[in-house]
């Protein structure tokens, strides 16, 4: 082994040792810093992705139109394409109006945010939103939609934040079941096989006997999540050796999230 190789290995080892010595606070700062650097790319990429999706859906509708109206002239097709564009705008206006209504009638102080990126790793379920410290977002703040709970913020940089979804095994939420005194802890599953992830509600009593479609809400225990936020509905219940466990279907469609709200407190 040449001298250059040994020096390179020593430098590599020293830098590696430096990073391995990072504690939680330093890791948080490091992650936040890197995400801050990536923020313009992620925001730009999100916009680009939307444009590509829009063009693809536009082409698809044109294709359909061609099949249905082979005899239509070019001018007619342009008009239809414009109409399609307007429909997209209308859909977005409706979506934002819906969100605005929720923000106004909600009992919580909410910061609206948009999902700009999804997690690229296999074992963690997170999304990145376009709101950060500058907007008043902090670590461990609940994230919701008008339908229910989405997750909580973990790493917050100046302009973007990472949200740990409730479908992640590490996101634990104290929960109660509608119409019963049962309380438990909701967490995600390590592995998601279908497009819709399921949640586990653990530490229930063996006598809980939960029925499908019963609603599960946050109980407010633990301090991160306020009480009364819908988490999901019961899919099945089983008795284990020491406790009862229910499987929940999340209230929010986590795979098609677009807009979310960060809860900063009560009004």
């Amino acid at each position: 082994m040449s001298r250059t190789y040994i020096i390179a290995l020593l430098i590599f080892g020293a830098i590696l040792g430096y990073f391995l010595s990072f504690g939680p606070t330093t890791t948080q700062k490091f992650k936040s810093g890197v995400y801050q650097l990536l923020a313009p790319f992620l925001t730009g990429g999100s916009g680009l992705k939307k444009q590509i999706t829009s063009v693809r859906s536009g082409l698809k509708s044109l294709e359909q139109l061609e099949h249905e109206n082979a005899a239509l002239q070019v001018e007619n097709r342009e008009l239809r394409a414009t109409s399609q564009g307007l429909r997209d705008v209308e859909h977005e206006v409706n979506r934002l109006r819906h969100a605005l209504n929720y923000r106004e009638r909600s009992v919580f102080k909410l910061i609206p945010g948009e999902i700009i990126a999804r997690d690229s790793s296999t074992w963690w379920r997170t999304v990145t939103i376009n709101r950060g410290r500058r907007d008043g977002v902090e670590t461990d703040m609940p994230v919701v939609t008008d339908i229910g709970l989405v997750g909580k913020t973990t790493t917050v940089s100046d302009t973007i934040s990472i949200v740990l979804l409730i479908s992640d095994e590490n996101c634990r939420v104290a929960a109660s079941i509608e119409g019963s005194r049962e309380q438990g802890i909701v967490s995600g599953e390590r592995l998601t096989t279908g497009m819709t992830p399921l949640l586990d509600l653990n530490f229930l009593s063996k006598q809980a006997d939960l029925k499908p479609a019963q609603k599960c809400y946050t109980s407010g225990v633990g301090g991160v999540f306020p009480s009364g936020l819908l988490i999901g509905t019961v899919k099945s219940f089983r008795v284990r050796e020491l406790d009862g466990q229910a499987q929940l279907t999340p209230a929010v469609d986590l795979s098609h999230l677009e807009d979310v709200f960060v809860v900063t407190g009560r009004k």
């Binding site: 020096i7 390179a8 590696l16 504690g23 790319f41 999804r118 592995l191």
Partner: protein
């Protein structure tokens, strides 16, 4: 040197692109990873010190996007991906003479195997922290899936990077002449 800088830029853009590449529902929601393919090409094409620098850079980026700090605890330490990339890229670098002789297939297969090894290592580390070691068919596919995809795309990426190396007048395999 230009080629090395280009590889760094490509790794950055590939890492960002991975955020926007959807999972493959027909392959148990397997993710598509491009960065390892670029890093493993770099491991063969670059001299040892630069290979380590590339592994360091790619590992650092991977750590930044995967390491989670939850409730004041770090699940996987920063630096683990650097170590993984360093070791795997080192093995790939050791097979450089084979690549110089024109045997790409071994490296394409190894790129896939090593990509899966990275995902497997991450799984083992989180399992160590969270407990309950589970190896279902789904887990195996989520580990093997990214590797298979990496294996499939590796020849295209290797060809493109090879072209890029030629364009930048980079002498990617100094051993070639020695072997010939």
């Amino acid at each position: 040197m230009i080629f090395f800088v280009l590889l760094l830029v490509l790794v950055l853009f590939a890492q960002i692109a991975e955020f926007f590449i959807p999972v493959l529902p027909w392959l148990y929601n397997a993710h598509v990873y491009i960065v390892p393919v670029i890093v493993f090409y770099g491991a063969m094409a670059l001299p040892f010190p630069l290979m380590l620098a590339l592994a360091l850079y790619a590992g650092l980026l991977l750590d930044a996007v995967t390491v989670q700090v939850i409730g004041g605890k770090v699940e996987i330490s920063t630096g683990t991906s650097i170590l993984l990339y360093g070791v795997l890229a080192g093995i790939m670098h050791g097979l450089k003479p084979l690549f110089a002789r024109g045997h790409w297939e071994v490296h394409c297969v190894l790129s896939g195997v090593f990509t899966s090894l990275i995902v497997l290592a991450q799984y083992l580390m989180i399992t160590f922290r969270r407990g309950s070691l589970v190896f279902t068919r789904e887990v195996w596919w989520q580990i093997a899936g990214p590797g298979l995809i990496a294996m499939a795309v590796a020849p295209i990426f290797f060809w493109l990077l090879q072209w890029l190396a030629r364009m930048t007048a980079y002498s990617y395999s100094p051993e070639r002449e020695r072997i010939q």
